[in-house]
Symmetry: C2
DNA sequence: CGATATCCGGACCGGATCGGTACTGTATGG
DNA sequence: CCATACAGTACCGATCCGGTCCGGATATCG
């Protein structure tokens, strides 16, 4: 299923929200346009603690900068065009690795025969990583803007013989 | 982390083993070169029940054909060059979808604000699916053959500003 | 300069899904 | 007729994710 953390989804929402800045509220134009965790949570609907956790991970990865103190908050470190989906995934879910026996495989394989798979998924990992690196958050934001224009996309064409899903 | 099922890894091992056929054993050239679950399990080191489950899923997807009966077993339905990684993942782990709110999103989103993400990941899903469709098991088998030639691959170069992992 | 309120940081816990196992039924081949 | 091997179902354990709570640090306000 290629399970991707829900946290990553939240991270994208939070980052896009962070890029849009605070428009409506009464707070008249903050100097750095920092946004607080509760504010983002209120705007996005994500629970506050979860937002805080996501922001924390993002701050640790350098995607956002944190401003501590009474009037602190979070601010984007880079424009969305410079943030790839791979960066968000790496920040939230850790390094991109499909299986346990890739890249930083610490030799946790219990069966030797299985370890023959080492390096086998590297091609797939590289391909996925490249695909994820080529997509920026700005593109994702643009993609979600006109929902009426894409009622049912066919996704990617599959030259290989498709099997019953 | 892009968690990929361990079952998928096993499936690749099993399929490659299935493609290599039975060379060593005393069984003098089976008519269809069918291999039994215990045989594959013994050859690969994967527990027999797991092999059986993987084979079952693969048979359901049409990647392998099953031969019931006393001298039954499994046989590849297609050469490895015709089997894409995406097919294996789809067969074992179900359809490729990173998040719950994509493609067949049944509207399980509890928060409306979150549902604004609908369709946002479609680009990423399409890219990943395309990447996975473009890699066949034959390529993966070739990649794993010479382990000495790639002691520490750099994987994919990352044009985007790399963050601390 | 001190108090305060706010916010970041790390730690803990519950729940859910996945991985693995065992049993029984059915069909084929000897 | 019996042995073999796949197919289906059900169960159990473990790992990991998601959510929540509390403590430390900091900038503002008095």
């Amino acid at each position: 299923m290629l399970r991707l953390s829900k946290l990553t989804d939240y991270a994208v929402v939070v980052l896009i929200r962070l890029s849009e800045g605070e428009r409506a509220p009464a707070r008249c134009c903050a100097e750095d346009a920092v946004q607080t965790s509760p504010g983002i949570a209120n705007a996005t609907g994500v629970p506050e603690p979860t937002v805080a956790k996501v922001l924390k991970a993002l701050a640790g990865a350098g995607l956002v900068v944190s401003q501590r103190g009474a009037r602190g908050g979070y601010r984007l470190a880079r424009p969305l065009s410079e943030i790839a989906v791979a960066d968000v995934i790496t920040a939230v879910d850790g390094p991109i690795a499909l299986t346990a026996c890739v890249d930083g495989g610490a030799g946790g394989c219990d069966v030797q025969s299985l370890c023959a798979v080492r390096g086998r998924w590297d091609l797939v990992n590289a391909a996925i990583r490249e695909a994820l690196t080529g997509i920026t958050l700005a593109e994702m934001r643009e993609a979600s803007v006109p929902p009426a224009f894409r009622p049912m996309p066919d996704l990617a064409p599959r030259p290989a013989p498709a099997v019953a899903e």
